[in-house]
């Protein structure tokens, strides 16, 4: 039988704080290094397109998306962010749909309300040409960065 003591509460509070420490991520350079080294060691064989995927992660564009408006297409003629040739975004009902031209491989999507502040951004991993985000649960202005 365990006996509760106030020190347990302090320790548990501290543990909760440690658990909430913001996540860190590898840089695109490190990702590319790992993949290249794994290939060089012949642990995996590179199919077509892998070099494109790695390069893509190095030319990331921040995609501003205004949620809560009627319809949005943030990527269009005249306002194309870097990388717009391989990504598109539109609103379908309450969902924002991202389409990635080369969507067969995994992509990391960072979401932030600050275009310059992706260090602590929410992160999700996608694989597939399309992925959706529920607009009703997002702030009104969100910047997405797709690696």
């Amino acid at each position: 039988m365990s006996v509760w003591n106030p020190d347990d509460a302090v320790l548990d509070d501290a543990i909760r704080q440690l658990r909430s420490t913001p996540d860190e991520q590898l840089s695109a350079k490190s990702m590319a290094f790992i993949v290249d080294e794994a290939m060089a060691a012949r642990t995996v064989r590179a199919p077509w397109g892998i070099r494109q995927v790695v390069r893509m992660s190095l030319v990331v564009g921040a995609v501003p998306v205004v949620l809560g408006a009627l319809v949005l297409i943030a990527i269009g003629p005249g306002s194309q962010p870097e990388g717009a040739d391989w990504a598109a975004v539109e609103k379908r009902g309450t969902e924002v749909v991202f389409t990635i031209a080369d969507g067969n491989g995994p992509h990391r999507v960072l979401a932030s309300t600050d275009a310059q502040g992706f260090e602590h951004a929410r992160q999700m991993v996608t694989a597939g040409k399309e992925f959706q985000i529920d607009a009703a649960r997002e702030p009104k202005l969100v910047f997405y960065k797709i690696d």
């Binding site: 440690l18 420490t21 590898l26 794994a38 642990t43 892998i50 991993v125």
Partner: protein
């Protein structure tokens, strides 16, 4: 939203990577990079060294894929490699000693802790991890911070469950003493 890639198990991705699917390999990295970096941090690897060490961890894991047999648990292998890498790294350095800040006499009772105090508390706990033995620290980080269950920790560290429980108890007692001043 459930990212499509999340539907595939680590083991299936590892198997695909072993068979030559580089995209599966990338997905494994994306899925676990934050976890590896976090474990390295709480096992005492300095910020400047974490990214390099994480690269080493993933390369070692991927190079070991060819030796995996059906039934292996990818995550357990990843944790084991990460923990060993952290301790190997630290054993090559002079173990850092941190002086813990003394408790402020005016520190409020736990039920009145402010956000600022919680940050202080977090920093003190992170520093206090240095007072644990390597094994206690690994068990504490995987169980209490990563949220693994006892069986997962045991598998990841190659220990018996009873040993995990013993080290966890010792770690908690030691940390409570440090935090209570």
């Amino acid at each position: 939203m459930a990212p499509p890639g999340d539907e595939t198990s680590d083991e299936a991705l590892a198997g695909a990577a072993k068979d030559g699917d580089v995209r599966a390999l990338e997905l494994l990295i994306l899925r676990h990079e934050s976890r590896v970096l976090r474990v390295l941090r709480f096992l005492g690897v300095a910020r400047d060294d974490r990214e390099d060490l994480a690269q080493d961890v993933f390369l070692k894991v991927f190079r070991g894929l060819s030796g995996f047999r059906p039934g292996f648990v990818f995550e357990a292998w990843l944790y084991r490699v990460t923990v060993n890498a952290a301790f190997d790294h630290r054993s090559g350095e002079e173990r850092r000693t941190r002086h813990l800040a003394p408790l402020d006499d005016e520190e409020p009772a736990p039920d009145r802790i402010s956000a600022q105090d919680l940050t202080v508390l977090r920093n003190r706990l992170e520093a206090a991890l240095d007072t644990l033995t390597d094994r206690e620290r690994a068990v504490f980080v995987l169980k209490e911070i990563e949220g693994l269950d006892t069986a997962q920790v045991a598998r990841g560290l190659g220990l018996r469950e009873v040993t995990v429980r013993r080290h966890l108890g010792q770690a908690r007692e030691r940390l409570k003493k440090v935090l209570s001043g």
